[in-house]
């Protein structure tokens, strides 16, 4: 609202994710790969292994072409992209952490120079001096990662920074060290995984086998230690945040599962390379790299997903609104907007009042300033799809918008604005996916009613309020469901039809019976 919103048709979040995942996959290689280069060079020189040195020279070229070009440009790319998608967060981070970035820039400069000198120095420099450049490269690259890690983890777990706004408090936040260790282990594994790529195109079978075995020494232990480091990482994340990855928040849950599975697959594939290391084909090493990319991407998706609803933990929501009013926030906090309205506060709107004629246009503009940082209308996290899935009409959308912040265990920011603005947004959302009245068969299915209307907050388990507290008597229960906010103030004011209520109550009672009969609740955990 304070800044214009870049209207990316396929979803700004997707663009950010693509840039970020590709960047981290190369930038982590840039750290571990640096250590790999110097240690491999040292070993090769000690054992007078000319063939290995010859390969390492080619590998250096590959390394520099990938990290110095793609790695560096995509790193700048993350800056470009976050500034386009989350300018408010970027501005806050820049002012709070500019000295961190400035220090990182010093290391970045050293890193790039050392990488080029190491590459061009292969034919020109005496062995020890050449390795000296390699070590400088590695330390600079590691330092660069250690700094960025401080800022990235701060965004997830801002810790006590919220209270004192001190640089180092935010920097050495609760997840700083586990994340650094976790990322460093990833970078060591990636050093080996990328080495498999250039190894697999070697013609000398004995050399290829040596490189593959040596690479496995980087991959296997690093991957083996990742679950332990991951456990440490998870333990330091406050339970309230981590809960988002277990159950109610689909994105985080799916990607957490995917990360674990893909990690295991990478591990197995890496071991398989050892069966016939002298015959490792390029296709196989490419597969290892792709699965590793999937693992890394999934991990980053989990981190991003559990950080939601925030872009800076407990401080700034993903849609650039401040979580609580603070001096200097320009009035862009949820409380203030609820009070005075979006149309009077937001700068980048062309409509300033709602009329019968412009309601959809206003709704579209509110969608843009409040939702578009994460959602598109019909592609990435497309609301059209969600609405179709749940068959919400305009009234239901409007009711649900009032309680966004309790959905999915609090993964979304609250709607900010007045009731008429909420109605305009609902009108717009209903217009992108018009919903026909439900056929009686759907209304008669209690499970469907639950999934469409309750499952955003309620889970199918005995201790969930819906199952624990809804009156057992069918007519009493059905009556109670007439006025949801009366049951609990944060419930949406849904007007469920008589059929829907009856079906839901029947289904809830059936599930209860199954549970008391000792049968496992399907989907419950």
């Amino acid at each position: 609202m304070n800044y214009p919103v870049w209207d990316v048709v396929f979803g700004a979040g997707l663009l950010m994710a693509v840039v970020a995942v590709l960047h981290v996959f190369v930038s982590h290689f840039a750290v571990g790969g640096g250590l790999f280069l110097v240690l491999t060079e040292r070993n090769a020189r000690r054992s007078n292994d000319a063939a290995l040195l010859g390969w390492l020279k080619t590998h250096t070229k590959f390394f520099v072409l990938l990290t110095v070009v793609f790695g560096a440009v995509s790193g700048v790319g993350i800056w470009f992209t976050i500034a386009l998608i989350s300018p408010t967060a970027t501005s806050n981070l820049i002012h709070a952490y500019v000295w961190g970035w400035a220090i990182e820039w010093v290391f970045f400069f050293i890193e790039i120079t050392a990488a080029l000198l190491y590459l061009y120095g292969w034919d020109k420099l005496e062995a020890r001096l050449h390795q000296w450049y390699g070590w400088i490269y590695f330390f600079a690259a590691f330092a660069s990662m250690a700094i960025i890690n401080g800022i990235v983890t701060f965004m997830l777990t801002s810790g006590r920074w919220i209270e004192n706004h001190q640089f180092w408090t935010g920097f050495f936040n609760p997840t700083y060290f586990p994340s650094l260790a976790f990322r460093f282990a990833i970078s060591l594994a990636l050093a080996g995984i990328y080495a498999l790529l250039t190894a697999s195109v070697q013609k000398d079978a004995a050399l290829k086998a040596r490189i593959v075995r040596w690479s496995a020494l980087w991959i296997v232990p690093s991957l083996a230690v990742l679950p332990i480091l991951g456990w440490w990482y998870i333990r330091t994340i406050p339970a309230s945040i981590w809960a988002r990855a277990r159950g109610p928040m689909p994105t985080a849950t799916h990607f957490a599962f995917l990360a674990v599975v893909l990690l295991a697959v990478t591990f197995v594939l890496a071991l398989l390379t050892l069966i016939q290391p002298q015959r490792l084909p390029l296709a196989f090493s490419l597969m290892v790299a792709l699965v590793a990319l999937g693992t890394m991407g999934s991990f980053e998706f989990v981190r991003e997903a559990i950080r939601k609803p925030f872009v800076i933990g407990n401080y700034l929501y993903a849609n650039s609104l401040y979580a609580a009013p603070i001096p200097g926030d320009g009035g862009f906090s949820v409380d203030k907007l609820d009070d005075v309205g979006v149309l009077t506060s937001a700068k980048w709107l062309s409509n300033r009042e709602i009329t019968q004629q412009n309601q959809l246009a206003v709704g579209h503009e509110i969608f843009r300033v409040e939702c578009a940082s994460c959602h598109s209308t019909d592609s990435y996290r497309g609301l059209k799809h969600y609405i179709a899935l749940r068959q919400w009409d305009q009234d239901r959308i409007q009711a649900m918008l009032a309680t966004l912040d309790v959905m999915h265990n609090g993964a979304m920011p609250p709607f900010a604005g007045t009731d008429s603005e909420r109605a305009a947004l609902a009108a717009f959302l209903a217009s992108i996916q018009p919903v026909a009245p439900s056929p009686p068969s759907a209304a008669a299915n209690g499970r469907t009613v639950f999934e469409r209307n309750c499952s955003m907050c309620h889970q199918l388990r005995a201790d969930d309020a819906l199952f624990a507290r809804l009156p057992k008597d069918p007519s009493e229960a059905s009556n109670a469901l007439r006025d949801l906010p009366n049951l609990f103030i944060r419930m949406p004011d849904l007007k469920l039809s008589d059929e829907e209520r009856t079906a839901l109550v029947d289904w809830v009672n059936t599930e209860r019976r199954m549970q008391t009969n000792g049968m496992a609740v399907p989907g419950g955990n």
Partner: protein, 380 residues
């Protein structure tokens, strides 16, 4: 149409050091970035010109430098990009979002151009035709990147244009083509790059002077003349740029502001001196005169132009931006650390170059360039 209500509000975090610290860092790092960019773009453009005039060797020689000059441009560009966000984020983010797609595509163009330069340098004179096409493609991409930069930064200084552009195309497919200073400003930058590219050739000539006098003389003349013609063209472009400025900003440089006016006079005067000196150096075939003195003088010109650019930005933003809008709360627990690491990093950087043999001086230029006694001695 004035729409001052579109100017974004500052975020609540204070400025973590005094305003002038960031201003100084911004201008100095921008200066370094622009020097690297000029060497890159000007060098590459002249390499193409040389190829067109069948001077393939010059092409190959310059092409080998580009994979180093581009990362230098990028790494030196990161710092001003950081500091401009510290001071002018409100304007920079807003205009970037308005031109979001061209701005984002800079990254794609940069990556492709970068690999293009590497491709040409690895060919080492082979595949001449293909190298030329790839080089042309990369140069065009860099040229377009510069053009997008000019669009974004001119737009960031003219908030009055924001609303109309954004509300017409919120998807970010905008440029700032209606800005009267856009073309002269961009050409002013590009032509400066050609001039400095000429100096790159002079420096290459200087390094080869003793070993290959004929070849060195050839590139000295080529580069030196390119420098002179490009710099002469700057007088016309500069006048065009100045004429295209809004009147109240133009008169700043024509007497209204003592600082702006003296910088302009200084810049123009020193540029004339550089042309005369270069012409004298070519006439006397004194490459050292060109390599040392003209380069030094041009450094002064670029610095004055960088400061003038900054003065102009602040003049454009005067109705919307005041340096005293910031609450300053210096982060004493980390700012000194930056200074120490910055100085230490600069020293380490110089040591790295020195041990590599890059400063081995004329001895190295005349003899084998790398395995100097000093170098191997230092390594033991």
């Amino acid at each position: 149409m004035m729409e001052p209500n579109l100017i974004p509000t500052l975020d609540p975090n204070p400025l973590p050091a005094p305003y002038w610290v960031f201003k100084l860092l911004l201008v100095v790092t921008f200066f370094l970035h622009i020097v690297a960019m000029n060497l890159l773009l000007g060098g590459a453009a002249l390499a193409l010109a040389a190829k067109w005039r069948s001077k393939n060797r010059v092409f190959v020689d310059v092409a080998k430098k580009l994979p180093v000059l581009l990362p230098a441009t990028i790494t030196l560009g990161v710092a001003p990009l950081l500091f401009v966000q510290v001071l002018y984020g409100q304007f920079f983010y807003a205009s970037s979002i308005i031109v979001a797609w061209p701005w984002f595509l800079v990254l794609v163009a940069l990556t492709v151009a970068y690999y293009g330069f590497y491709y040409v340098s690895f060919q080492n004179g082979q595949n001449s035709g293909k190298s030329g096409s790839v080089m042309l493609f990369s140069v065009v991409l860099i040229f377009l990147i510069g053009f997008v930069y000019s669009n974004n930064f001119t737009l960031s200084q003219t908030p009055a244009r924001w609303g109309a552009k954004y509300f017409a195309h919120p998807a970010g497919w905008n440029l700032n083509l209606s800005e009267p200073t856009l073309v002269p400003r961009f050409l002013h930058f590009f032509t400066a790059a050609v001039a400095v590219g000429g100096l790159l050739l002079v420096l290459i000539a200087f390094a080869r002077w003793k070993r290959e006098p004929d070849y060195a003389r050839q590139i000295f003349h080529f580069g030196g003349k390119a420098f002179m013609y490009a710099t002469m063209a700057q007088f016309l472009l500069g006048i065009w740029f100045l004429a295209a400025l809004p009147r109240d900003l133009r008169i700043l440089f024509l007497g209204d502001s003592a600082l702006a006016t003296s910088l302009l006079v200084l810049g123009v005067g020193v540029a004339i001196a550089a042309i005369l000196l270069m012409s004298e150096a070519i006439r006397r075939e004194n490459v050292r005169l060109a390599a040392y003195y003209v380069s030094g003088i041009v450094g002064v010109v670029i610095l004055t132009m960088s400061v003038m650019r900054d003065i102009l930005r602040d003049a454009y933003l005067k109705p919307y931006f005041r340096p005293d809008q910031f609450v300053v709360k210096t982060q004493w627990s980390v700012f000194p650390l930056f200074l120490v690491l910055f100085v230490g990093g600069a020293i380490l950087w110089l040591v790295m170059l020195k041990r590599y043999g890059l400063f081995a001086g004329k001895k190295a230029e005349q003899e084998a360039p790398v395995e100097t006694p000093e170098l191997t001695g230092a390594a033991r």
